[in-house]
Symmetry: none
Subunit: 413 residues, 2 copies
């Protein structure tokens, strides 16, 4: 069961539009058990579209096409499909009356371009578009299914959800593919691979492991492929529990859960509140925490103490500690955490002080150095880490590291 | 001058990762004058990668490849490139010592996987990766250039910016393409297009105008194409000054300058300091300001007053104002700005209070409502805006609107 996605549109190739359609379609088709074996983007250009259709034929069971169905002159998908399937455009009166109705409702008058939207290749089956004017089209040729849809994401999703996915589910239900994502933090990819060498070797042949790193977090994706869903589910569950046994300290969540979601759940569960005191992270930790809906339940606020005067005057960090150890030091970051916890009256507080770069590093404290401190009823934990030289990457890494220390502190209570 | 992009990785095909790399590369290559005629995504699978390389040969001048260069067993791009170019992997000692240095700094020990990162195909030219461990690789075969880069976006961008784009610019430069970006804020795309109707009609045929909207900001890109750089520069300058005449209030910067960079320049120029007091934006404004290197020169800090107790106790917002008008009101947001300005002793302060969503809206204050206040020596300016229903989009829109109000306040002084 192989599927291919073809997205049509100049805007995709010159990078003016990021192709989110094919990611969405890829996820949905994988869920149905299809192997989406390739994705292709081409210009709104007759020869390129024809070539992509020819190339695909014979290698895929289903070919999903988006784009080029709009009403303007640069949209040529329909004519090109006619050429490929050796058919011609005819007016579909059901589509026409739907468009007329839609225009009436929006108080627009019909013009030639709107009428042209109701023309479809004679040999296709029309898939009603409940979210726009360009209908979807279903073709079959030599046992291969070709589906053409508009490129507007919510229109494409309407047609996929209402027509395409249900019909494909009915017709192809042999192979089952199951994915499970395990989120890890604390070991770089190479180290993680070393730790999981034995685990990988002993994986049953139906399962595959992939490493997906992003901003210090590595997502491990286990995929099981076969025909028996129950059996595969059992296999995956067993391998997930093996993973937990192999790297217990590195796994912080499953599926796509971020640190801020994990921490939010833990804080709500335990009825605790949190505040942050940020120097080098400049509000990034607070921003991550508050990106979660409902975070006002446990997040009270922050003091961003970028300037040392804010550290001393507002948070009560003794000036002599800064003079003696520097602002980027364990001594100072602990006082920052204590200060914000007292000031904002929270159960837990986390503070950061570091050098995000590109300037400001020294031999003993290079750019990328950070001190983090977490304080709660149970006590204080501090940690020093050193990352790279890119400012934005550092700010992100610092913030993720801080949230991980918060998580560990809550779990240890 | 034809280019093709191949992105390698299962995660792209099953839709777990949205392919932003190829959009970025497409935009950069178009800017150089290349016709990016197709983009292809394939599995981490030997045969599929080989087939995509074979298909591409002969149809493109440059083939840009990302992904599959990590240190783990599912990363097979390097071996497959060796097979395609009929060469073998050898250790590159320059890359090795760079990796060793990087590991030392982060206090990690080298393992077999790290060492493997330093292996490169013998026939390639190595492109130093200043942002990670996997180097880029430059191959030439029968007049076609193949460039392989890691899939981690900031590593790919480093290699493209430092090595690939400058070299391609040198080697392929018949046609001159000049771009100028004018940053606008304050009018949605349809309104902007209406305002610029006359301007567009009178554009000389060598120039083109494109609208690139993102998070409330619309970038207008003027492109002039031809053979005489001096002539084209003159054309573009003239059109830019026409733009300034047509929409003077909407233009806030040129090129890719963000609000935070514009504000940073203004504050440094005037020797003023700033603080923020954020409720619904949760630190996003501070994060934007501090994303700029050197922002410690003018940014002193923030109070994130998520909980009302922080507003009243730390910032001195009278409880009766919150009771009478609600936390999302002009009265309260002004007191927040005054409070943080007094507490952090800055020249300027900006405060936000709003409803980011998805819950918490009422009939009179729906989700997406925000009050912003900016206070300086000169006085106080407040503004109420209403955006949509998506939490993350709202937080971004709120923050951009707040920075724009700061900019206007500084300029009016």
């Amino acid at each position: 069961m192989k599927a291919q996605i073809i997205t049509i549109g100049d805007e995709l190739l010159i990078g003016q539009t990021i192709d989110t359609n094919s990611a969405w379609i890829g996820a949905e088709m994988s869920r149905l058990g299809f192997d989406v074996w390739r994705k292709l983007s081409v210009h709104d250009k007759r020869e390129d579209i024809l070539e992509s259709l020819k190339e695909s034929s014979g290698k895929s069971d289903v070919i999903l096409i988006t784009g080029g169905l709009g009403p303007t002159s640069d949209d040529i998908t329909k004519q090109t499909l006619c050429e490929f399937f050796n058919t011609r455009l005819i007016v579909n009166y059901e589509v026409l009356s739907m468009i007329e109705e839609m225009m009436r409702r929006r108080n627009f008058t019909m013009n030639e371009n709107n009428r042209r939207q109701a023309e479809v290749p004679e040999s296709c089956r029309v898939l009603r578009n409940g979210a726009g004017t360009a209908p979807g089209m279903w073709f079959e040729k030599e046992g291969i299914i070709f589906i053409s849809m508009p490129g507007v994401p919510h229109e494409m999703k309407y047609i996929m959800t209402e027509h395409v996915l249900p019909e494909l589910r009915k017709r192809f239900t042999s192979q089952v593919i199951i994915h499970r994502n395990i989120m890890t933090y604390g070991a770089p990819e190479a180290r993680l691979a070393e730790l999981l060498k034995g685990f990988e070797v002993s994986l049953p042949e139906e399962t595959k492991l992939a490493y997906l790193p992003a901003a210090g977090i590595i997502k491990l994706r286990l995929t099981a492929t076969g025909s028996d869903r129950k059996f595969l589910n059992g296999l995956i569950n067993e391998q997930v529990s093996n993973l937990y046994k192999t790297i217990p300290d590195l796994i912080y969540a499953e599926n796509e859960e971020s640190f801020e979601i994990v921490i939010g759940k833990l804080l709500k569960e335990k009825g605790k509140t949190i505040s942050t005191c940020e120097s080098c992270t400049g509000g990034r930790i607070a921003e991550m925490i508050t990106s979660v809906p409902g975070s006002s339940k446990y997040f009270k606020g922050s003091v961003i103490a970028y300037d040392n005067s804010v550290k001393t005057e507002l948070l009560g960090v003794p000036q002599n500690l800064i003079d003696k150890y520097g602002a980027v030091s364990e001594q100072v970051v602990i006082k920052m955490a204590e200060g914000v916890r007292r000031l904002l009256k929270t159960d837990i507080a986390v503070a950061t002080s570091g050098i995000a770069g590109p300037d400001g590093g020294t031999d003993s404290k290079p750019v990328g150095t950070i001190w983090i401190s977490v304080i709660s009823e149970k006590g204080t934990t501090s940690e020093k880490l050193v990352f790279g030289s890119d400012r934005i990457t550092n700010i992100n890494r610092f913030s993720v590291a801080a949230l991980n220390l918060v998580r560990k502190q809550i779990l240890s209570e």
